[in-house]
Symmetry: C2
Subunit: 388 residues, 2 copies
Amino acid sequence: MLHNLFKPAALTLAAASLFAASSVAAETKENDATATTERHKVKATTITENLEFPWGIDFLPNGDALVTEKPGTLRRVGMNGVISNAITGVPDVVYKSQGGLLDVVIDPNYEDNNWVYLSYAEPAPEGEEGNSTAVARGKLIGNHLQEVEVIFRGQPKYKSNAHFGSRLVFSPEGHLFITLGDRYSAMDDAQTLDNHHGKIVRIWPDGAIPENNPFVGKEDALPSIWSYGHRNVQGAAIHPMTGELWVTEHGPKGGDEINIPRAGENYGWPEATYGVDYDGSIISKKTHVPGTVQPHYYWVPSIAVSNAIFYTGSQFPDWQGDLLIAALKASKVARLDLEGERVMHEESLFEDLVEQRIRDIAQGPDGAIYLITDNRNGKLIKISNADE
Amino acid sequence: MLHNLFKPAALTLAAASLFAASSVAAETKENDATATTERHKVKATTITENLEFPWGIDFLPNGDALVTEKPGTLRRVGMNGVISNAITGVPDVVYKSQGGLLDVVIDPNYEDNNWVYLSYAEPAPEGEEGNSTAVARGKLIGNHLQEVEVIFRGQPKYKSNAHFGSRLVFSPEGHLFITLGDRYSAMDDAQTLDNHHGKIVRIWPDGAIPENNPFVGKEDALPSIWSYGHRNVQGAAIHPMTGELWVTEHGPKGGDEINIPRAGENYGWPEATYGVDYDGSIISKKTHVPGTVQPHYYWVPSIAVSNAIFYTGSQFPDWQGDLLIAALKASKVARLDLEGERVMHEESLFEDLVEQRIRDIAQGPDGAIYLITDNRNGKLIKISNADE
Ligand SMILES: [Ca+2]
Ligand SMILES: [Ca+2]
């Protein structure tokens, strides 16, 4: 069973000891539940429910998943439900409220370089206050992150435990996009360029600033900024045909957004929003402000958009090219049937199959769809095709 | 009260006799119901509930409405709820199932020429079988249509009482668009150009064929055809910025569509559809067929789209530029928040205010929204702004 858990054959024997005794193989035959959707029948299989507030998931070339747990641990998860011990070398994180160890993504050239990238809430230096979103990378060798280096530090450190962002995605050209949050109480900072609050950042994987970033050389602007005027962006995906970044952004009450962040553009927060007050009455804020870009699509009421993927697998042919958006509050996946960039239709998927808040969504190497849930006994759920 | 019901002052006195004793002024103060929507508070007022299966509504320059009743009558309706006697001169119609007197639209230059256009199910000539959608016009003088002439006859006459279309709308250049249906049992005809089944037609108001219609001079094609591959198009509106035609099209079970019919294009029916079988299972038909145009937007399940308007009034500022689509089955109005042509969001409006199937929607000269309901005691409902 373990023979394919690690690529290097020499590690196979040693690998056995990396797996914690507390992990159990999922009873995949017993817990299958099926549901009908507009275009496909689907089956949900719980791979494991032994993840502690998992936040991010990405797949290794061998088919195992790497999963972050918000308290600060990174683990391998086999598709048989076996969970590894904590991978060592993960940076210290501020685990409080929305902060902790957040996203994980493997390098596009992982098979050559073993780089794994992590976003997290980083504490201020000893004796100082506050925290900010940071991104580190390390080479995953066995169960250890080695040569760990911080490649991005959000500025400034700030006293808040909310709105860290922070999804990671690589562009086709090899840039790393980092999505950030406005830190809630610092929302006005989203409109100024001398800080990272409410920004999307574009860097090279080693932390270098791309020379053609939109604010390079501009006074009072951080050169890592790609776009601004965002609230709390926790979803990011690259459109498979255009190669452009698409993001999902939490609104206040109402006004969750999809945006297509383009270089140097202002996405309006907090000047423009479709959000409403917490009592349901219409907010006084504007929906349209000159110089700011309208969302590509938005939700009222909020579904609490976490991450999103463009589905490109063969397992669900009628979903190819569609945007699948995971939702925390709504415990579902919204499918946007896209024709190019155009939203033709929205369908709610998996509502009857998932009871927990969905924190991340990923497409597996097998074309199945994988969900992790935001829970002390967080699940990894596999959604596979059950068409007759 | 009657002084502004007719434009020509000389007719004012005579007009009193045109109103039937059965009509009663609506109790506008007593029946106001309010509802909250995402952007506006609204108030619904029933102007009358004495219309017999009303189908189409348009406004005269003086603020009265012209309303068709499917059994074959055309009436003026004052905004005080007073309903006129049947206007004379209306062509004979086949009143059966979906057939009858259908849409009404006044000429863009009505104040100069008094032309009123009617679509209807026209019987075959004496001794022959079947029917088809036709369009006639007449000059409305007092309570009479005069100089009535048929300007369009759907070909062929066909034995069916379903899927007649048939909405009428003028283009900015003065063309008249006529939306048609596939007659249900003749659905395959929608893919061939030698008939009017499942077509949208573009003519001049006198029935002449525009020289630049896409199939003029093409063999085995009717020159009046603008676009094809439609199922049953009962909604039509001109986009206020692009000047293009947008239509709403009934799908089977599922697959109601918005299309932007362009010259000579094929919109796919019945080769391509998002509709599903009546038992809810996925239909075998394809959603994508080369050479056919995808819908701009679609609904699954169907809401039963009747007519649609682009809202351009001042009464609901946050709805300006939005597409409001009336629904029969869903008894609601879907609001598509548009940014140019792009659908950013869908909201369901008036669900708690209207219990009956909504057959037509219009924007009044006052910027209020008017709905008529598909009922033996059909209503004319005014939706006005109730923001505080
Ligand atoms: Ca925005
Ligand atoms: Ca179609």
